[in-house]
Subunit: 242 residues, 2 copies
Amino acid sequence: MFFKKAPFAEQALTKALKNIFGYTPGNIALYQLAFRHRSAASVVSNGVKNSNERLEYLGDAVLGSIVAEYLFKKYPFRDEGQLTEMRSRIVSRSNLNALSRKLGLDKLIQTSRETNIPATSILGDAFEALIGAIYLDKGYDFTKKLLINKVIPIHLDIDSLVNTEMNFKSKVIEWGQRVKKTAEFVLSDELENGKQNRKLYVVHLLLDGELAGKGHDYSIKKAEQKAAEQAWISLSEKNLPE
Amino acid sequence: MFFKKAPFAEQALTKALKNIFGYTPGNIALYQLAFRHRSAASVVSNGVKNSNERLEYLGDAVLGSIVAEYLFKKYPFRDEGQLTEMRSRIVSRSNLNALSRKLGLDKLIQTSRETNIPATSILGDAFEALIGAIYLDKGYDFTKKLLINKVIPIHLDIDSLVNTEMNFKSKVIEWGQRVKKTAEFVLSDELENGKQNRKLYVVHLLLDGELAGKGHDYSIKKAEQKAAEQAWISLSEKNLPE
C-alpha cells in the first residue's frame, strides 16, 4: 500500500474533505495532523511529536461515546452486555480499517518511506484521529451528526456487523479434521477485572499439542473464537488452510 | 452500607440533585432509573429490566470521552500512552466509587434488601449511570461543563491521581521479607491485541510458590503492580499484612 510522503497542501486537503464529508473544515492544521503517521512526524516541543497519535486517543474516546449512544437508542431492548459487544465490533480495528479505506482516507495519509508498519492499522488509526480533529474543530454534536448521517448509514452495514459472526472455531476444527491435526481449546487463565462480575478469560488453541493461537475475552466462547481467528490468520499466512 | 429500598419521589430527587450539582433536572424519570440498582429492578418489556445498567453503559462512554478531552487539553505535552494511563486512573472503579460517595450519591441509590453485591461497586456504577442520565437529559456540552466545573475541581485531585502510584509491589515484597515468604512475579502469558504494537501481559504473583494474585496490563510493570494489588487486598481481608 502506498501512502503520501508529503502532507497535503491546505487547499487540496480542504477540498478532499469537502468531497468526502460535505462540509468545509475550519482549522485545517488539525486535519493535517490527523493524517500524519508517526513515521512522518518530527519532535516539535517538549518531546511531543506532531503525529496523529494524540488525536487518535481523543477520537477513539469520542467515537466510542457516539457509537454507544447510537446503539443505546437504536436497540432499546438490548441489555448493556449486548450493546458493549455490538460497539466493540463496530469500533474494531478491522472494521475501522475497512471503513477508512471506503472513505478514501488512504489517499490522504502521510507516512515516511521507511515505514514497515502493517498498512492496514494505519488506516483505522487515521480514521480515529480524524474523528478527534473533527471534534476539536466542530464540536460533539456536529461530529455525531456527521457520523450518524453521513458515515454509518452509507458505509456501515450495522445489522450485519451486529448479527453475523465469523466462526473461526469451526473453520479451524474442520481444517484440523481434513489434515488430521487435533485442535484443542484450553482455558489457560482467568483474570479478574476492575468491574464486578467480569472475568477476562484467556484461551490457548493447541494444534497437535502445539500453541497455534491465543485469545482473551470476557466470555470463554469469544476467547475461543479469538484464539481460532489468530491461528487462522497465521495459518493463512503460511497458505496452509484451503 | 445501607441503600434505600424504595425510589426517591420525584420532588425529593429533584431537590437532592439540585443541591449536589446546582441545576434542575428535566426528565426526572431518567435520574430515578440511574439510581435503581438491578437488585431493585423489574422486567418491564422485551426482557429488558428497568435497572441502571444500560445507562451505566452509556455514561461510561460519555465520561470516557469527556475525561479524554479534559486530559488532552490539560496536558498538551503528554503522549497518548500517558494520557490513556491517566484516564484509566480517573475512571477506575475505586476512584469512581470514592467520588460517588463524596458527592453523596450513596443516599440516592435504590437496591433490594437481599442484595449481597459488594456495596462499593454499586456506587461507581451509579455515578456512571447518572452521567448517562445527565447526558440524555441535557446533552454533551452541559455534561462536560458540569463535570469540568463542578465535579473535577472540587472532588478530584487530578494531579495527585495522575502522579502518585500506590506501590503494591514493594508492599508485598517487604511484607514477604518480614514473614519469610518468597514473592515471585512470573510473566505467565503475552496476548496480542487488535491494536498494533500492544501486547497484554499477564503476571502471576507466587508467594512461596503458591498463586497469590494475578494482574494484566499493557506493560509488565503495571501487570506486576496489579497482581501485587490483588494479593495485597486478599491478604488484607485475611488480616495478614501489618
